[in-house]
Structures are given as C-alpha cells and as structure tokens.
C-alpha cells in the first residue's frame, strides 16, 4: 500500500493522511515538525486510506499537536505498521470448543500501531500511535498476571470472510488441544510483540502462532513461525518484531477461568 512508502513533506503547509480510523496531521516549519492525531468515529470513513496531502483551508482548532526538532533538511516521512506494545487477549464473541487431539485455525484481526519516522536524510523515530485505542485487560492471576489489551474478536475460521481494513493486520493462530479434556476457547493471549508484519496483496499479515494446550495445570507451548504466512502471497516484511523470538515459549496462553472480581 502506498501509505507505507516514503512521503514528501511540503514545508509550511498543513498536511493530512489517513489509515482507517486514524487521521494524522503534519506541519513542518523551519527545523520543527508538528504531528497531531485524530480518530474518526464515522463508519463511512473508517475504511479509507489516504497518503499525506496538503489540506484546503485551515486545520481544526482542537487538534493536540506534538512538536519534534527534525532539522531543516528532513523533507520525507514514512509510516510503519507495528504490532501493539502489549500482548492481546482475544475473546471470541462466541466461544469455541476443541475436542481432544483436534486443532483449530483462527484468523485474528487486530488494529495495528503506526510508527512515524523521518525517512531522509536519516531515519528518526518520532512517535508511535495506536490506530484504535484498545481497552486494558488483566490476563491471569490478580497478583501475578500480565497487563494486555482486550480484543473482542469474531475469531474467524476462514480467511475469505475477513474484510480488508487498512488499519488491521491478520494473525493466524492455530490452537491444538493435546489434553485429555475438551478445551473451551473463551480467551487466549497472543504475544503480538514477537510478530513481524508482512505486506500482503490486500491485507497486512503476521507470522503464524501455534499454541499447544496440554491441560489446565500445564503450561501451553507457544511457537512463532519464522516464515511468512501462506494464506495470501506476501511482498515483504514491513516491520520487524518488537521483541524478536526464535525459541518456542512455554506460557499460560489459554484461560477459561473467570478472574475473581467479587465485591
């Protein structure tokens, strides 16, 4: 997609670009670059993507601008899709049951983060903004769990059903039940910080995750594929993993228990 390529900044002009619900505003003056973020709630505009263009008229007054000193010769900017900075707890809208020795493949679509970098004369990371602000959730025990983002998902089983949203990436998650009992998939934790993002023909993809559930009292084995997903031809890696990982992880990634919340 063109929005992920280098884009020219026109000095002393207010410019606007869009990735799904995330609208970005830029303004360069002298050696300073100003960036503002706006989130669109109008459903009609939410699937649009636009490269940076100068706006006609004046910018909205209620924008909350941030300022960066980038130098006078920084005339190119680049947007990079990123995975969220914390794990995601995916909660399927309708829980699914996996019998013993069976596996299920889910396509989890999650909103990406966008990193804004100056591209020329040198790369300078300016900021990272989420395309959608996800709610916090606690995964695990209230005394020792971990803070994640909550993602209500349809956890689709077929890729054709997924709508091509410019601000979302799709993570294939394969869950295998190796325990002696049926597995109720009410929620599962996806450590997206270990995933790369690939540019597909229509969508953004991540590498595949395989979770092997071995029982309530056992930790699950989580494996991150090192190759690109095979569900759609992908062009290249658009962003590396925040925390690269090569060895399989042993983690508690599946949870069907309700956390204690009594008054």
């Amino acid at each position: 997609m063109d929005v992920w390529k280098s884009q020219k900044i026109i000095s002393d002009q207010c410019m606007q670009g869009q990735i799904g619900p995330l609208r970005l505003w830029l303004k360069q003056a002298d050696d300073e670059l100003r960036i503002a973020v706006e989130r669109i709630e109008d459903i009609k505009d939410i699937l649009e993507t636009r490269v940076f263009e100068p706006i006609k008229g004046s910018e909205p007054e209620d924008l909350d601008w941030g300022r960066w000193v980038v130098g006078t010769n920084a005339d190119t900017i680049k947007l990079m899709p990123l995975t969220p900075d914390r794990p995601l707890v995916v909660r399927p809208e309708v829980p699914l049951k996996i019998p013993t020795n069976h596996e299920a493949l889910f396509f989890v679509s999650f909103p990406i983060w966008v990193r804004i970098v100056t591209d020329k004369p040198r790369q300078l990371n300016l900021c990272e903004v989420p395309s959608v602000v996800l709610s916090n959730i606690w995964f695990g025990d209230p005394m020792s769990g971990e803070l994640c983002y909550s993602l209500r998902s349809r956890a689709r089983r077929k890729i054709n059903n997924s709508e091509p949203s410019p601000h979302r990436a799709i993570c294939p998650v394969r869950i295998r039940n190796s325990s002696m009992r049926q597995l109720d998939v009410e929620r599962f934790c996806v450590h997206v910080e270990h995933l790369k993002i690939y540019d597909g023909i229509e969508k953004l993809w991540t590498n595949e995750i395989s979770i092997t559930f071995k029982g309530e009292s056992e930790v699950s084995q989580v494996q991150y594929a090192q190759s690109p997903p095979s569900f759609e031809p992908v062009k290249n890696v658009v962003s590396e993993a925040r925390i690269p990982l090569k060895k399989p992880l042993l983690k508690k990634s599946l949870s069907k228990f309700k956390l204690f919340s009594g008054a």
Partner: protein, 289 residues
Amino acid sequence: MFAITGINWTNLLTKETITAVIRIAALIAIGFPLLAFISAIAGRAVKKRFTPQASMLVRKGIFYTGSVLLLVSILYQMGFKLTALLGALGIAGIAIGFASQTSVSNIISGLFLISEKPFTVGDIIKVGDTKGTILSIDLLSVKLRTFDNQFIRIPNESLIKNQVTNITRFPIRRLDINVGVAYKENVGKVREVLLDIAIKEPLCLDEPEPIVRFLNFGDSALEFLFAVWCVKDDYLKINTKMMQQIKERFDAENIEIPFPHRSLYTGSVTEPFPIRIVNGQSEDKTKSP
C-alpha cells in the same frame, strides 16, 4: 636532652612502645579502610541477589562488628587489660541497655520488617491516617514521603504493632465508587449506564470485570456500589475520570443524583402543608409553601 618537666622520654621510647605505636597506626590506617571496603563489597554482592534493605543490613553489620574488634585490638595494643575492659563494658552495657530499650526494640522490629518484607522501597503504604511512598527502611525507622511532600519518620516498633496497608503490593487495584440515584429511577437502566461507562473507558480493565451492586434503600437514594479494576498506576486518573463521567452520563440520561432531603407531612401524605400568615390579617390553612 629528652628530660622535659620530669618525664624521662628515653625510658618511654623503648622498642616495645614504638612497635605498639606502629601496630596501632597500622590498625587504624589499614583496618578501617579495609573494613569499609569489605562491607561495601559484601553489601553490593547481597544487593544483586536480595533487597536493598538486606544489603544495608549486611553492610552495617560487617562494619560495626569489625569496628568493635578493631577498637578492642587497639586498646589491647595500648596495654589495656581485656578482662577488666570487658567487665566494664558489661556494666556499661546493662546501663546502656536500660537507657536504650526503645532503640533496641526498634532495631529488632527493623530486623523483622526486613526479613518479613511486608513492603519495599517505593511502595505506597498506609499506617493509621498516614499515607505515603516509602523512601527508606532503616534499622530504627521507616521514612515516608506523603503526597503533599512531607517527610514522615515512623519507628519500626509501631509498624510491627499496628496494622499496615500496602496499597501498591499487587499490580492491579479495584476502585470502589458509591453512587446514589433517586427512588424514581430504573435500577436496570442505572446498572446499564454504569457498566457502559466502564466499558468505554480504556483504562478500566475488561477483566476482572466491573461490578455494579445494588447495595441499599438509603434515606434519600437507592445506593449502588460501582467497582472497576485498573492498573495501580492509573488509580488516581481513573478515580477522577469515573466521577466526572458518572455525573455527565447521568445528566445526559436524566438520571437524578439526589441530595439528602426530608419530607414533612402533617398526618396525611397528600394534603398540602398548612401555613399561617402572621403579619397579614387572614389565616389560610390550605396554601402550601
């Protein structure tokens, strides 16, 4: 030539005396720096594996024990008899012990606090009416910085004796808000609005789930407990946000937050309250205020 004011310096400067002076000088010059070095090394080694309090304890323990041994050695070199010295120290120890009962109690309490670890430096604790962040845990006392930037020293003994609440021990906290609405309001709608406020606030945790409990038929209101979970660092931010959002949403949904009020009746709930105009000539028993 050394005989000044009756002292025979030649007799004093014997080989033994000079050796003793050299030994004392060596003990002072080498002993104390070496002791400081060893205690620092030991403290650093303990700090890597254990808490800063344990490190401090080891460092001070080594330094003070070593200092006492050095002092005894110096006194021995000076010709003091150790048996007499220890006897004198024993008597002095009893006297000092009586005088420093509180200090000793604080030191022992400090040792318990360090081994039990109910809190660490940086935790926010509440002791009685005092709430603050722990700056240091020392042998005699714990030092706090309150939120209005005051320095408070709490003796260890009182921390052992009294109830101490560690507010930031666990990573997440529950914020409890008591909400009252007018008797005419629909309980289901109130519950729905409150849960919606929690769902729409990203800093409120989705799990553990927010709770709305109908608590009581109060004097002036239907009383609810609205409890949301958040990360401990977001507690104050969430508190302010939730309060503001409850007021704004209740106003938008026409849900009345009643103030305490009392109705007066004169025997019947439907009849108007009778008044009498004192300055005027007439008397009206049917007008209500």
